[in-house]
């Protein structure tokens, strides 16, 4: 592939990604609110982000453990299904795109981008929970499973032994499926790789595998380890052809009074593999033929601080990671590619119905696999901020109005090696039932 | 705005409460008058079916007379509480302990008056479990709930700090009922078997006299008390058909 061709592909890639990015957001689950008579605010700091109570509920396997956790078969009328619909108007502009007419800024916008997620989840039997999120319709009309797992909770009577099987999101510091923003800007560090790396491993993507998770009462201490097959790697077919490993441990301090109501520190890391060769047919990898696996790694830390009254907190999240991609994954590499990155997110729940948030994402290559390339090639940064106003909530459903802006810059990947910037303006409704 | 309102409201509430709480002033009454009279039931007392006991029949029997209307000589009505409403000054409150007895699966007495500061002795004559559960008549709020698990058991408890009409139940025997009027003053009397009442040592002045019956409600009358003299106030209640 020539340099230009590659750039064009990347650029188109960026555009398509954005177009498709009304990403599946497993976010909110009002079916639980209906079952337990709680408002969304009981489990969500500002939905869809969970608060301590919501986390503890989820960690207990969607159970409150008060003798009222009827299984989905027991309570007629309780239907463990939720939908989330996000009609919105988004205007997207991408700068410095190569066209036949020269370097141009491309804009596109439209109403009617309706994201819709269907969630089914609950308690099958005591201490057996499940989640199924059939999202997205592939071009051939097939529904694919965004998420599908079964969890066995409190094995041997201890909250330190829970096992999840199936397609699940690994235990990220901040769930990629519960961002405050609806714009297409993801938490960049989750999917970032050293420049040029073939690996497409995205921590935020749900993976087929097994997760062990343990926690104490109230989930102040937790640990989770997932072993999985990296999704979408070319030429792979079985569950273990491109193994990956992810781990996360946190400790939270809560304070009975004072300006800081809670502080959480954690570490996380991933070790994943990606094939570098496979047989192809018409250019498409033939499943089951991927081989020559090479690793990518990330290791990082998180710090979360909740300031102010814990019921309407100012929540600061800092996540950072150092990553390394094997040189074999990078074209023309003579050394491993390394990078550093992370994000700082600030969400202020001003009142129960109003949230403002701000996020700064930054990912920088610290060593290009191909030392001849500029050090900052494909460095990325993004700023996202917005306002969410929930205008109605009950223990049955929620409606919110959202207004957001995000800008995402990529270094040196535009036409003629220019930087590109993607600006997104979004106004929409977020409805969950 | 809301906050201002609620602050104002609670301030208002507080002042009302303190007004009620501090109303009565003790003075020496040397030559007080007496308010006396008879409370009568007009016509025939309605027939009330006896209480069917639903538990402990081996001891309580299968039925008990229902004492809602106890009529004596010349239509005199028992168990009517008569009191001087809102009296602000007078003699000191009694300090003796009042009694509420659980006997033969009923409370005795059915109606009595009391003053703040008095204590109540709750006792049982019955070889079965009773529980004496006084509640505020308006709010149903539990005042306390004491188990009297065996015969001969008794406890003495203070009455509530603020005056109120107390309805007493026994949860174990839902038919049992007693009424305790608690006042911040000592000017009240419960009619006897012939409907008589007498309220003594009343400082001269004009008062509203109230008669209260558990089913037939309240009646008011005005009475002017002269020093050292009795004044007669009679009441008559007509039962609803």
């Amino acid at each position: 592939m020539t340099r230009t061709a590659k750039l064009v592909t990347t650029a188109c890639g960026v555009l398509t990604t954005i177009a498709l990015l009304a990403p599946p957001r497993a976010g909110a689950f009002p079916a639980f609110a209906r079952k337990y008579g709680l408002r969304c605010t009981a489990c969500h700091e500002s939905w869809p982000k969970l608060n301590d109570f919501g986390r503890a509920f989820r960690d207990n396997g969607y159970q409150l453990l008060m003798g009222k956790d009827d299984t989905i078969f027991e309570t007629p009328g309780y239907w463990p299904v939720s939908v989330r619909i996000t009609p919105q108007y988004t205007y997207t502009q991408v700068t410095n795109q190569p066209t036949d007419q020269g370097t141009k800024n491309l804009g596109s916008g439209g109403v009617g981008q309706v994201g819709m997620d269907l969630l089914m989840g609950g308690v099958l039997f005591q201490n057996v929970s499940f989640l199924v999120v059939p999202t997205g319709f592939a071009p051939d009309g097939a529904v694919f499973l965004e998420s599908a797992w079964v969890r066995f909770d409190n094995l041997f009577g201890t909250s330190w032994a829970n096992l999840k099987l199936g397609r699940h999101e690994v235990d990220l510091p901040v769930s990629a499926h519960r961002p405050w923003n609806l714009t297409g800007t993801p938490y960049l560090i989750y999917s970032f790789h050293a420049n040029g790396s073939a690996s497409n491993y995205d921590m935020g993507e749900n993976q087929w595998g097994v997760e062990y998770m343990g926690h104490d009462r109230g989930s102040l201490n937790r640990v989770a380890v997932s072993v999985f097959n990296v999704q979408n790697s070319p030429g792979t077919e079985n569950f273990w052809s491109t193994p990956g490993l992810y781990g996360h441990a946190t400790h939270e301090w809560t304070f009975g009074s004072g300006a800081v109501s809670a502080l959480k520190l954690g570490v996380f890391g991933s070790y994943t593999t990606w094939p570098t060769t496979s047989f192809t047919s018409g250019g498409t990898p033939i499943p089951g033929t991927g081989g020559n696996l090479y690793p990518s790694e990330k290791i990082g830390g998180e710090a979360q601080v909740w300031f102010g009254p814990p019921a309407t907190p100012l929540h600061l999240i800092v996540v950072f990671a150092h990553g390394e991609d094997d040189k074999a994954l990078i074209p023309n590499a003579t050394q491993n590619g390394t990078f550093n990155g992370g994000f700082a997110e600030l969400g202020w729940t001003i009142t129960l119905k109003n949230l403002v948030f701000f996020r700064y994402d930054l990912c920088k290559n610290s060593q290009q696999g191909d030392p001849t390339l500029p050090q900052d090639l494909n460095d990325q940064n993004a700023i996202t901020f917005g306002w969410r106003h929930t205008f109605q909530f009950s223990n049955r459903s929620e409606y919110a109005l959202v207004a957001e802006y995000s800008t995402w810059q990529t270094m040196g990947m535009g036409a003629n090696g220019l930087n590109t910037r993607t600006n997104q303006y979004l106004v929409g409704i977020d409805f969950a039932y | 705005m809301r906050k201002v309102l609620s602050t104002a409201l609670s301030a208002a509430l507080l002042s009302v409460l303190s007004a009620v709480g501090s109303a009565y002033e003790v003075i020496t009454v040397t030559n007080g008058g007496t308010v006396q009279g008879v409370v009568k039931l007009v016509g025939q007392a309605p027939t009330v079916p006896p209480i069917k006991t639903t538990k402990n029949q081996d001891y309580c029997g299968n039925s008990i007379d229902n004492p809602l209307y106890v009529v004596g000589k010349d239509g005199g009505l028992k168990n009517v509480e008569v009191f001087l409403k809102g009296i602000e000054k007078g003699k000191a409150n009694p300090t003796a302990t009042i009694t509420l007895l659980n006997t033969h699966c009923m409370f005795d007495p059915r109606v009595q008056g009391s003053s703040t500061g008095q204590q109540i002795k709750i006792a049982s004559d019955d070889p079965i479990l009773h529980n004496t559960h006084p509640q505020n008549n308006d709010t149903n709020a539990t005042i306390y709930n004491i188990a009297l698990p065996f015969k001969g058991f008794s406890v003495t408890k203070p009455l509530p700090a603020t005056p109120e009409l107390i309805r007493v139940k026994c949860d174990a025997h839902e038919w049992m009922r007693a009424w305790i009027w608690e006042f911040d003053h000592p000017y009240y009397a419960t009619t006897d078997a012939d409907g008589h009442f007498e309220i003594k040592d009343v400082p001269p002045g004009t008062y509203t006299v109230v008669a209260w019956h558990e089913v037939m409600g309240q009646k008011d009358a005005s009475a002017t008390v002269a020093a050292g003299k009795p004044v007669t106030v009679d009441f008559s209640f007509t039962p609803k058909k």
């Binding site: 337990y36 008579g37 605010t41 009981a42 608060n51 301590d52 109570f53 986390r55 503890a56 409150l64 453990l65 008060m66 009222k68 009462r217 109230g218 304070f255 009975g256 009074s257 004072g258 300006a259 800081v260 109501s261 809670a262 502080l263 520190l265 830390g301 009254p309 814990p310 019921a311 309407t312 009142t351 129960l352 009950s394 223990n395 | 609620s6 609670s10 509430l13 507080l14 079965i128 529980n131 004496t132 559960h133 509640q135 709010t139 149903n140 709020a141 539990t142 005042i143 306390y144 709930n145 004491i146 188990a147 698990p149 065996f150 058991f153 406890v155 949860d171 174990a172 025997h173 839902e174």
Partner: protein
């Protein structure tokens, strides 16, 4: 990495430097902040007016507490008294088993303290009345068969069976048609279930029959059962199900 640990320890220091709280659990909260806590977590059941008639109340049988009378079931204080702040904190922290009242352990002490202060604004009783001193629960003697046997005798002598039934299944002669202060039907607890509504420990059972549950038919036996008898009775109740944790000291929180 080093920089992070500096930042982290700064935060810890900041948090710890916060004014040490003068009172015990549940005390000293701010009712204004508590209102928001209440709206966030409690409103759907206990209602905007604190009358227990939130939007979810009509769907459930054991109704959420109406706060306007200042009547609370689970207390360390004598029959009829208001509960202490620590009592409320315990109830809210651990929830009420078998009802829709969840455990609010995860919302933390700070939130609970504030919401307790707010709950108290619903009843004027909190302004005119004070909780009486908590009862003293003596240290638990060891659980033993002899104690269980003596406890059965206390159960009989105290006539718990009148409501709870001979075999403590909640089916005594007076078990039916019972009503609570709010006029809702209520049934004596089936003590063989192995988990009482509010708490797991021996002292949780102890305080129930010694102080009674205000607002319910469950009376106080403080004047008729001595502390020794009380522990025997606790052991008898614990013997009714393998699920009750035995020899579980009062100091140990679950």
């Amino acid at each position: 990495m080093k920089r992070l640990s500096i930042v982290a320890s700064a935060f810890v220091a900041l948090a710890l430097a916060a004014p040490a709280r003068a009172q015990g659990p549940g005390s000293g909260g701010d009712p204004v902040k508590g209102k928001v806590v209440y709206e966030r977590y409690c409103l759907s059941c206990h209602g905007e007016l604190g009358n227990g008639a939130g939007e979810f109340a009509e769907w459930i049988t054991t109704k959420p507490r109406d706060y306007r009378q200042g009547t609370f079931k689970w207390r360390s204080t004598p029959s009829g008294s208001l509960p202490t702040d620590a009592d409320l904190d315990k109830t809210i922290r651990d929830g009420i088993y078998g009802t829709f009242m969840p455990t609010w352990y995860a919302i933390g002490e700070h939130n609970r303290r504030d919401v307790i202060a707010y709950i108290k604004t619903f009843s004027a009783r909190w302004k005119t009345d004070k909780p009486q001193p908590s009862i003293v629960i003596p240290a638990e003697p060891p659980y033993s068969d002899a104690s269980v046997k003596r406890g059965r005798a206390v159960y009989e002598k105290s006539n718990c069976a009148q409501c709870h039934g001979q075999d403590a299944l909640g089916d005594g002669p007076s078990a039916h048609e019972l009503k609570d202060d709010w006029g809702n039907p209520i049934v004596p607890y089936d003590l063989t279930q192995g988990h009482i509504k509010c708490g797991d420990t021996g002292s949780d059972i102890y305080r129930v029959f010694i102080t009674g549950l205000n607002g319910t038919p469950m009376p106080s036996f403080t004047d008729s059962i001595s502390p020794e008898e009380a522990w025997d009775l606790v052991h008898y109740i614990q013997s009714l199900s393998a699920l009750y944790p035995k020899n579980y000291g009062p100091a140990a929180a679950k």
